[in-house]
Every structure is written in C-alpha cells, then in structure tokens.
Symmetry: C2
Subunit: 274 residues, 2 copies
C-alpha cells in the first residue's frame, strides 16, 4: 500500500480516495479525503485534481469534492448489476404495488450483501438497507438466501470463524442457529427473518437464478414484524421466479419440476399453507 511511483500504487491510491466517500458524507474536503485514505495531503490533492479532470470526481461551489456522474456512467453502462436490475424492475414494482414498505434486490459481494435496488414507500417499517449499501450475509433475509447458495468454503468460513454480529436477540449469530437457518432456506426456497436486523421489521427473500441455475441475486421485502407477513411469502417467491425466468432460467425450472430434487425453491406449488 505504501509503495510510491509504481502504476499499481497510483490505482490503489485512487481506489482509496473513492472509498472515502459514503452516502452520509458525499462531499469531502481534500484534507478529509487525505485523512480517510491515509494519503499525504499533497498526494491526495494531486490525485483528486486528476480525478476531477477526468470527471470521476467533481468540485462543488464550496470546493468540496464529490463523486462525479461520469464515474457512475462508466460503472453503470456495462454493469451486470444494472442489467440484473433492469430485468428485475417490473417484478420489483409489482411487489411494491401490492406489499408496499420496502422491496429490494441484492447480490453477494465477497462476505457481504450489496443492495443494488430498493423501492420504499413513505411511512414504511424501519429498514437499514440502502441502494449501494451493504449488510453482513448472516443477518438479513437477502443475505441468508445468498449465503445458503454461496460456495461451501465461504459458508464454512463464516460458520466456523469470527463472532458474528447480533443486531437483535433474534439474529442467528451463533453457528448452530445459522446452520439451521441456511438449511431451512435451501429446503423451503426462501428466507423468513422476523426481527433479525431490527425487532420491528421482518425480512422475506427468495433466490434469483440465471440461465445456468446459479443463484445470482436475492429478491426480498422488509415488512412489519407481525403475523400478516406470512402472506407475503408467495408474492416474493413468485417475483423471484419471474426475475429468474427473465434472466433465462426456464430450463432450470423444468429440470427441477421433473422431480430430480426435492424441495429447494424448485417446487411447483407455493407454500401458501406454511
């Protein structure tokens, strides 16, 4: 990280500068950028100037630095996240019309959930997720869906490793509990998470598969933590299936319907009676 002059370190430093910006603090002074990125002010100042010249950062009228729309454009126009989001959007809108509150689409990035879309209504239940925001895999319904279908070695690392954060007394932060949750997600085809992130909120999420059958995203809702939430399960599962179809996952549906596996999210009937 501290090598100077090489091509690698310039890019690494530019990435550290971009990492300094957050949704809560989107406008930073150069000295604050330097502090957060661990760079000398002179180095940060020179790199910021160059990033501004390319439009990747912009300076506002107070001389504070912000992320530029040009960076968003470069990141978005060929982004798999945007393609996924565009295919999913009609289904997300449909769920949002019926369920209200929060409807969201998430992918796994390393050991975290990254939310690529969220639709919210005024007066919705509390929800910590944000577009382009992250949560740990074990705590949210989207995370549990993605973790349940993640490579086994990642799952085992999380299950056997560091202590996991308990957001509430319901968060499955202990390994045996988390293991049981993941088994339930694979068996039932969805995650049902009452009060895992906040006592008042309940998350429900189902897997989105691509044409190869691989789970590439989770579609979920965050609704009030009460008995009425169960009725939302088939809505979420249907929408997740719809997005999967839109991504070309038809063949997978057929294969699973033919009965080669039991349960999972391949069942042709919805768990209306759960």
């Amino acid at each position: 990280m501290s090598t100077r002059g090489g091509g690698e370190s310039v890019l690494a430093r530019a990435v550290r500068i971009l990492e300094a910006f957050t949704q809560d603090e989107p406008a930073l002074s150069v000295s604050e950028i330097a502090r957060r990125s661990g760079l000398h002010v002179a180095t940060a100042s020179r790199l910021v100037a160059e990033l501004v010249a390319h439009g990747l950062l912009v300076r506002d009228e107070r001389r504070l630095v912000r992320v530029g729309v040009r960076l968003w454009e470069l990141a978005s126009r060929a982004s798999p996240a945007l393609t996924l989001r565009e295919r999913a959007m009609p289904f997300l809108e449909g769920v949002h019309d019926v369920v209200g509150h929060h409807v969201q689409l998430a992918v796994r990035e390393g050991e975290e959930v990254l939310f690529v879309e969220r639709l919210s209504a005024p007066g919705s239940v509390v929800n910590y997720t944000r577009i382009a925001g992250r949560l740990p895999l074990h705590a949210s319904s989207s995370g549990l869906v993605l973790l349940a279908h993640a490579p086994a070695e990642l799952r085992e690392r999380l299950l056997d490793g560091r202590p996991l954060r308990a957001y509430t007394r319901h968060t499955p932060a202990a390994s045996p509990l988390l293991r049981a949750q993941l088994a339930a997600v694979r068996r039932d085809g969805y995650a049902h998470c009452p009060g895992f992130v906040h006592e008042d909120a309940l998350g429900i999420a189902a897997p989105v598969r691509d044409r190869t059958g691989e789970v590439v995203a989770a579609l979920g809702v965050v609704v009030p933590n009460d008995a009425s939430a169960r009725a939302v399960v088939p809505v979420v599962r249907t929408a997740a299936r719809g997005v999967s179809r839109a991504l070309g996952a038809e063949a997978v549906g057929k294969r699973v319907r033919a009965g080669t596996t039991r349960g999972g999210d391949g069942g042709a009937t919805l768990p209306l009676a759960q």
Copy 2:
C-alpha cells in the same frame, strides 16, 4: 496521453480501459480492450489485472473482462445521480402507472443528455434512450429542457457551431429552429417533441429544480406520436414539480408564484388548454 510512468497517465489509461466497455459489449478480451483504449496489450493486461485485483473489473468463466459490481458500488453509494434518482422514483413510478410506455430522468453531462433512470413497459413505443446512455442535447425533449436552462455560453456554442445531427426531418437541427424550440421550452415550462428522435415517438419533458432554483434534471416521457400525447403534458409537469419539491425547491415555487416572472415553468396553472 502517451506519457509513461507518471501518476497521471496511469489513471488516464485506467479511464480509457473503463471507457472500452459499453452496454452492447459488456464483456471484452484483453486484446480487444487494448485495441479500443489504444494501449499496448502488455500495458492493458497489467492494468486490467490490477483493476481486477481491486474488484473494479472482473473476469468471467470465459476469461472475458467485465465491469465489476465494486466499481458500481463505489460510483453509486455517494453519487448525486443516485440521490436525485431516489427522490424522483416515487414520481416516476406514478407517471409510469398512468402513462405507461417510457418514463425517464436525465441530467446534463457536458454537451449531452445522460439518462439516469428509465422505466419502460412491454410493448412501448420505440425509444433510443438507456439508463447510463446518452443523447445529444438538441434532439430529445429532456435534452431541450436541459439545454434551455444550460449556461448561455454552452447554448451559443451549440447554436453557432458544428452541424447538429438530424434524426428525422422533425429534429430541430438548424439553429433558428432550435433557438425557437428553446424559447418555447422556457416560455411554456416543458418541451414537446413530436418525432424529433424517431417518427413514431413523441417526447415530453419538464425541468426538475433543486433548492436554489437551478435546473438539475429533466423528467420526461416517450409516448406514441399522436394527438393523445398532449394530455400527458400536465402529468409530466406535475411530476417534475413534485420531484423539485422533494429536492427542496419550495421557495422557488413561491417566489415565482408571487409574480416576479411571467411564464416559464413557474405558472401555478397547468397548460390543460394547450
């Protein structure tokens, strides 16, 4: 562009690599990236490897390179485009529910329109815009709204400079015609563009203002090019006003309503009789 070893050129080359990816060709080989970015294959290969190490690019199973979700995350989480889009989304959804076809939100980036959001319905009229895609300012309804409120020197440069592209015989590509269009946008408070980009499509857009009263975006629709489109004008204007309010533009509305200016998009009544 051809200096070697300096910090500037590494970033410039990385930007050129990112620019190689498009929505139509999101997966490229390293040699194709080198060709498009004008870099030696060895240079491109080394930079791609480093961008992959940072997660800004990813390699797929065929060894083709794509834009990484991490880049989207860094670009999006503190992006003004995302904040604008989040505030606008409930209004865009409302318009989409009522009007169907395409509803979009655009900002000006230099001398072009950049579309930051688009909602479309199946079977909608033809539309060339895409999320994170661009169009010239003079051709589309969103572009005319943004150009009408752009700095005067930019407007004069476009009006007096190079020949402008005519997409159809209705595109205001000639200066006097374009000048008249821009005056009409400022007078009426919206742009109404029958067949400007495609004979079968009609664009309507209205300005979105921030708390300072500055026009920061255009909210528009693309609908079939027929007489029924006029009825959509008040819907678009109302939604654009709604987004402006959500961005804190109340004071501007009050100031204009008090009668200090005539016309513009400040009128309290909608042009239902136009």
